[in-house]
Structures are given as C-alpha cells and as structure tokens.
C-alpha cells in the first residue's frame, strides 16, 4: 500500500540557514503522527511544506500519490502558479497555532466559506454540513458569533470545523494548543482525539507529549532539520535512544 503522505529527501534553506536537511517520512491513511522537537528544529517548516505554504529546495512530497504545488515533466518538477496549487490544497486541511479565523465572518460563515467558494457547493448543503461539524466540535450554539467574541479554545474548535468542511484526506496541525490558556487546551485536544478515533489522518506538530503518547500511532522527533528518531509512543517516550531526544524529554519534564 502506498502511503498517503510520502516525503523523500526534502531540503529547505532560508538563505544560508538550512532548516530541513534531507527529510524522509511516510504517513499512512488513518495514521496519527506527532512531530516533536525544540523550536527551530524544522517541524513546522516540514508541516508547511506538505501543503506547499512553503516551497522545497529539493526532494519530493506527494499526498495521495499527487504532488502539491508541482507537476512532473521530463524528469523535472515545475512549480505551479498559486492558482493551480490551490486545487492541490483543497483536500489537505490545516489548523494554525493562531487559529486564523476570518474575523469579518461569523462562525458559520467561516465554516461554509471553503465548500461554498472553493468547491462551489450549494449554500443550503454547505450550511447543513457546517452545522453538523459545529455540533461535532461543540460550537453549534455560537454559529452566529464573530471570532473575537469567542475564547481561544472555541476559536480553535471552529478552525478545526472549518478544515473539516473541505472533507480533507489529511489534516495538518501546527501547534494547535500553543496559543491557548492552559485551561482551554483540553477542549481542543478532546476534539482532536475524536478525529483520530474516527480514522482521520493527522500530522500534528505539538508540545503536548501526554496527548502524543495517548493519541499518536507514531511520534517523530526532529532536531536541527533532521528526523533523529521515530517510533511508537510507548517505545519512543519510555526508552529514547538518541541523546537529543533524552535531553528534550527531560527538559520537557516528561517522566514516567
């Protein structure tokens, strides 16, 4: 079986600073992979390369056997225009650290925007879908509120519903709980736990090691632009091999 996400030899530099140094990673359909590591280790950049919010310098990334933002022609990869890359991104959801809800739209409008404008679905259908999804994340009662009237945790749950509304094959989470007050982290993780249980393929950049331990099928530890160690949560967290990972876990206060 081909993996849903295939990353091979991906390199990426900002000027002289190489942030990804030949990264290989496969993610299967229905798998939950958590990317952990210190800030600056390249995990967020890797995540953003998957839906081509960042371009890569070399290497390939395929989602469901298709390139994202590139096309292959006679042994070269040609970067597509933003307009064409947009089509590749439709079925890859992304949830940001800062939520990035559209502040001039209500909760409901935020959720229907994608299916309505991008997938050109009928308004009535998109509203029905959006209400379902908002119920699923426990936000249906706030459908007519504007984002600024919501707490961070509520905003992030709406952002997850917005991503789900595109019926994605894969959702990328970029530190979804890092901007939240501690008491609001739980409600967002609960929603993500539900998604994982439903079989959604998820790649999650996170600092929540307890969540990763509980929900991830695999944890990938990155350091200095490389994947240093990866494995099942129980093994990786209880019996780390790499020195960097051992140091990271002890600094994170993660102990048995």
């Amino acid at each position: 079986m081909t993996p849903l996400v295939a990353i091979r030899g991906v390199r990426k530099s900002y000027g002289a600073n190489e942030v990804l140094k030949s990264v290989d990673l496969d993610v299967d359909k229905g798998e939950v992979v958590c990317l952990i590591g210190r800030s600056g280790s390249g995990k967020t950049t890797l995540l953003r390369c998957i839906n081509h919010l960042e371009s890569v310098d070399s290497g390939i990334i395929k989602v469901d056997d298709e390139y994202v933002g590139y096309r292959e022609s006679h042994g070269t990869l040609i970067e597509l225009s933003e307009r064409k890359a947009a089509v590749n991104r439709r079925h890859i959801g992304i949830v940001f650290q800062q939520f990035n809800l559209f502040p001039h739209m209500t909760v409901l409008e935020n959720v229907i925007e994608g299916p309505l404008r991008v997938l050109k679905r009928k308004r009535a259908d998109t509203v029905a879908l959006a209400v379902d999804l908002l119920e699923r994340v426990g936000m249906a009662h706030k459908r007519d509120a504007y984002p600024r009237q919501l707490s961070g945790g509520q905003q992030q749950r709406v952002a997850i519903a917005r991503a789900l509304a595109m019926r994605p094959k894969l959702i990328l989470f970029d530190e979804p709980t890092s901007a939240l007050d501690p008491e609001l982290v739980g409600e967002v993780l609960d929603v993500m736990r539900d998604l994982a249980a439903d079989g959604m393929t998820m790649i999650v950049v996170t600092h929540e090691l307890r969540f990763a331990e509980e929900v991830a099928n695999r944890i990938v530890f990155m350091e200095d632009g490389r994947i240093v160690e990866s494995g099942a949560p129980s093994r990786l967290l209880r019996d780390p091999q790499a020195d960097g990972l051992k140091a990271f876990l002890s600094r994170s206060g993660f102990s048995n």
């Binding site: 919010l53 933003e82 947009a86 940001f96 809800l101 001039h104 991008v118 595109m166």
Partner: protein, 312 residues
C-alpha cells in the same frame, strides 16, 4: 505561619461599607461650557446684527440657478475623479505589492510622478495635451493605424479636469490602499490558501473586506478634500461652485455673502459625507466593530450595534 493568621488585618480606619465612593468631579468643565456658550451667543448676535454680512444677498443667491449649477458640477467632478482615483488606486496598490518587478516598478513610478508634481500642472497639462499629441490613434505600434481621433474632441475641459484630479488622486489612494492591505495579518492569507482558495478569491473574499475597514477613514478624508480641491478645475474655465460664486461677486462686489453661500453648500456636502462614513464604517466593521467610537457615532447608530456586540 500559624493557622490563626487571617487575610484581613485591622486598617485603623472606618469600616469599608460605611464609606461612599464619589466619582471624580469636573468643575472646570462647567466653567468652560459657560464660556463657550457666551462666545457662541456673542458670535450669533453679531452675525445677525452686523449688516455687512448682507444676509439678503446670501438668501438671494443661495438657491440661485447659477450657484446650484456650480454645486452640481462640483459634485460631478468630485464623484468622477474620486471613482477614478479609488479604482485606479486599488490597481496601483496591488501592482505595487506584486512580486512581478515590472508591475511594482510601474506602480512606484506612477506614484512618484503623480504625487510629485502639482495637481494644477497636471490639470493644465491634460487640457493642453493636443499641443503635444494633436491626434489620438488606435493601432499597432509601428504598424497600421486602425482609427484616430482629434485630441481636442476627446479631452474636453471636463475630461481634462476629471483626468487631472483622478489620476492624481489614484497616486494618493494607492498608498492608502497599500497601507490597508499591509495591515492584514499574513495568517489570513495562509488560512485562505489552506482552504484551497485562489489568490484572487483570497484577495476578494478575505483580504480586501478586512483592509477596507482600515482604508475607509483616510479615503473619506480624501473625498472631503477632493470636494474642495475640485475648485481647481476653474483654471479650465469650468463653472464649479467656487468659480460661479467668484463670477457673481466680481459683478456685484459682494464677496462675503457669496462666499458664505458657497461655504454653506460645501459644509452641507461634507456633513452628509461624514454621516455616510459612519454608516459605511458600521458595515465593514463587522466582527471587529467598536460601534460609535465617538459619541455622535453612537447616536447615529441608534445603539443597535452596541447591544449586538455585547457578549452573550
């Protein structure tokens, strides 16, 4: 610490529930109100009793056909020049922010030229364009001509006036629009692209509606400015409000009442624009509105939005 310690210790003053709190007092406000009222009354009395104001002449011309036609022309020139300025300003702003070096250099050059030379010069230049180019020709460069028109037939005084003011305005508007677009967080664009929206959809649906909120106040500033700068078209012998007033008082030697009449119209139009601004700001303030940040705004908004935004 011993368990006998409490959070409350004796203060040695009266018990808190016996002290009443009196809000800060503003005695000088009342003094200034009285002084201001006195000055206003004195001013009004002098305007009524001083015959040099010639309110009879004011009344005679305020609604005269000449003044009203001048007002109409002022409004026409303002509306057309502003429409040209806003539309072209958005285009120039988008060009300026484009990653295409040709487009951004063009936009920079445009702003440099039109902002850097006097508006009056531009007006006269367009009016005299026929001296440089007697004919305007549609055709293929260095190839055959398809059709040509005499420049003077295309560029009337009115067209020259609107072009001169409008192209100049576009240079200023482009900077206002650019400022608005830059004020939108990069995360908004990324969220839109993450949904699979095209660059045009992202601009049209996400970035522009939010930028408009930032763009509106300085734009109304410029519209109000344009209402008055439009009197520059008098150099092209166009009979705008100020120009017809001048023509009349050069004949009857009554500049004060005629300038008062013209100013009353300018002030009235400006007031209408300011009210319009409050309503338009309300429309684009959705989700971020602090409705009626001013007292007059709250009155005009009827307090409706205020209640809506209060968290439920």
């Amino acid at each position: 610490m011993s368990s006998a310690t409490t959070d409350r210790r004796e203060l040695g003053s009266a018990a808190p529930d016996t002290l009443r709190i009196v809000k800060q007092r503003h005695p000088w406000r009342w003094v200034s109100v009285v002084i201001a009222l006195l000055l206003v009354v004195r001013m009004v009395v002098s305007m009524i009793t001083n015959d040099a104001y010639r309110w009879d002449v004011f009344a005679q011309y305020m609604f005269s056909e000449a003044i009203l036609s001048g007002l109409l022309l002022t409004l026409e020139v303002t509306a057309m020049a502003m429409a040209l300025g806003i539309v072209l300003g958005v285009v120039i702003a988008v060009c300026r922010m484009s990653r295409n070096p040709i487009l951004s250099s063009f936009a920079w050059f445009y702003t440099w030229i039109f902002r850097g030379t006097p508006t009056l010069v531009q007006l006269i230049f367009f009016y005299n364009l026929s001296a440089l180019y007697p004919k305007v020709t549609l055709g293929i460069p260095f190839g055959p001509d398809l059709h040509s028109w005499p420049t003077n037939a295309l560029i009337s005084a009115m067209v020259a006036g609107v072009l001169g003011l409008g192209l100049n305005e576009a240079a200023y508007m482009s900077e206002i629009v650019r400022g608005g677009l830059l004020s939108i967080d990069r995360g908004q664009t990324e969220a839109a692209m993450g949904l699979g929206m095209t660059p045009w959809q992202t601009f049209r649906r996400i970035v522009l509606p939010q930028a408009v909120r930032v763009i509106i106040p300085p734009t109304f500033n410029n519209i109000i400015g344009m209402l008055k700068y439009s009197s520059l078209v008098s150099v092209l012998s166009l009979g705008d409000l100020l120009y017809v007033s001048e023509q009349i008082f050069s004949r009857n030697f009554q500049p004060i009442p005629l300038l008062l009449a013209a100013s009353t119209w300018y002030l009235l139009c400006t007031s209408i624009l300011m009210v319009g601004q409050i309503y338009i700001e309300r429309i684009f303030g959705k989700g971020v509105a602090r409705p009626g940040a001013t007292r007059i705004g709250r009155v005009l908004a009827g307090g409706r939005m205020v209640r809506k935004v209060v968290r439920g």
